[in-house]
């Protein structure tokens, strides 16, 4: 609980700093633009080290079975099914718009750009940008939801739940949180799931945009 509060506070502090202009990534020029990317690489490097110096690494690598590929499959199918159901509550967008947004699987940068681009022809510039913004927010929310709720999801729904909830981000942003709260033995599952869903994003988003 203490960890969750800290996460929310840090994020809120970041929002305030960005809004007030106290922290301005643009003012750092080119470095500022890619700063978060560098931090992400640092994070992944640290996760790699913690994997490498883990004495159980051999056991983990051995435990990857073909069965684990079922996890990204149910992750994608579950996301699409519930996104279609949610579209019944949103009158503004049709079911394929909502499926395109859901297919982002947490990959907000890629899905929002793809959607606002692909949908321009059929929806017009402004509506396409709006749907793109929704895709951005939806997938940011999904990432935040996963980071914040991973301890609870793991306890209530089993160790696969946070990995599924993370979608693509199971392999990068959410990976450290997942490993911390479900244990090192979930690392292969998280990586396999994250990589497979990552490949599905451009395919599914453009498919649902074209319908």
């Amino acid at each position: 609980m203490k960890g969750t509060l800290a996460v929310v506070l840090v994020f809120a502090a970041g929002c305030l700093a960005g809004w007030s202009g106290l922290a301005d990534l643009e003012s750092f020029g080119e470095i500022g633009k890619d700063l978060t990317m560098y931090v992400l690489y640092l994070l992944i490097f640290l996760v790699g080290i913690s994997m490498g110096c883990n004495p159980d690494l051999k056991k983990i690598v051995k435990s990857v079975s073909p069965k684990i590929f079922l996890l990204p499959v149910v992750t994608i199918l579950g996301t699409l099914l519930f996104s279609a159901l949610a579209s019944l509550l949103i009158s503004k967008w049709n079911v394929f718009d909502c499926l395109a947004v859901g297919s982002g699987m947490g990959y907000y940068s890629l899905s929002s750009v793809l959607i606002s681009q692909y949908k321009e022809a059929s929806l017009g510039v402004q509506l396409a940008a709006e749907l793109g913004t929704i895709a951005l927010l939806t997938n940011i929310f999904r990432e935040m939801f996963t980071i914040i709720c991973t301890p609870l999801l793991g306890r209530w729904f089993g160790p696969f739940a946070p990995i599924a909830s993370a979608g693509v981000t199971a392999v990068d942003v959410c990976l450290p949180v997942i490993v911390r709260f479900t244990g090192d033995r979930m690392l292969p599952a998280a990586i396999v799931s994250g990589v497979v869903t990552d490949f599905s994003v451009p395919v599914l988003v453009s498919f649902f945009c074209s319908l």
Binding site: G14, G18, W19, L71, F82, T133, L136, G167, P176
Partner: protein, 97 residues
């Protein structure tokens, strides 16, 4: 994506070579701190984007609904998958005194 996985593999190799270094037992803390830094930057990006802020109320509700639907849908099926295909072998391995 490729470079990200490559970076991780380099880290794994580095970790393997430094297995005996005692200080590495604190790597979990370093990871936590880095997560906080990334979360802060994510906040900065959202806070600085006036377009996102102005439309947050109208678009945000729809986005929240879709985010929860997507997350819970995948969680629901992942929980079923774990329960019926993975739990038995896993709990055997996990047995603790």
């Amino acid at each position: 994506m490729f470079y990200l996985i490559l970076t991780m593999l380099v880290g794994v190799v580095a970790g393997l070579m430094m297995r005996k270094v005692k200080a590495l037992s604190h790597i979990g803390k370093a990871i936590s701190v880095t997560i906080y830094v990334m979360l802060f930057f994510l906040g900065v990006k959202i806070g600085a984007d006036r377009n996102i802020l102005a439309n947050l109320s109208t678009l945000g509700v729809q986005a929240l609904l879709l985010a929860l639907a997507g997350a819970m849908g995948s969680v629901f099926f992942a929980a079923l998958l774990y329960r019926f295909f993975f739990r038995t072998e896993d709990s055997r391995r996990e047995e603790r005194p």
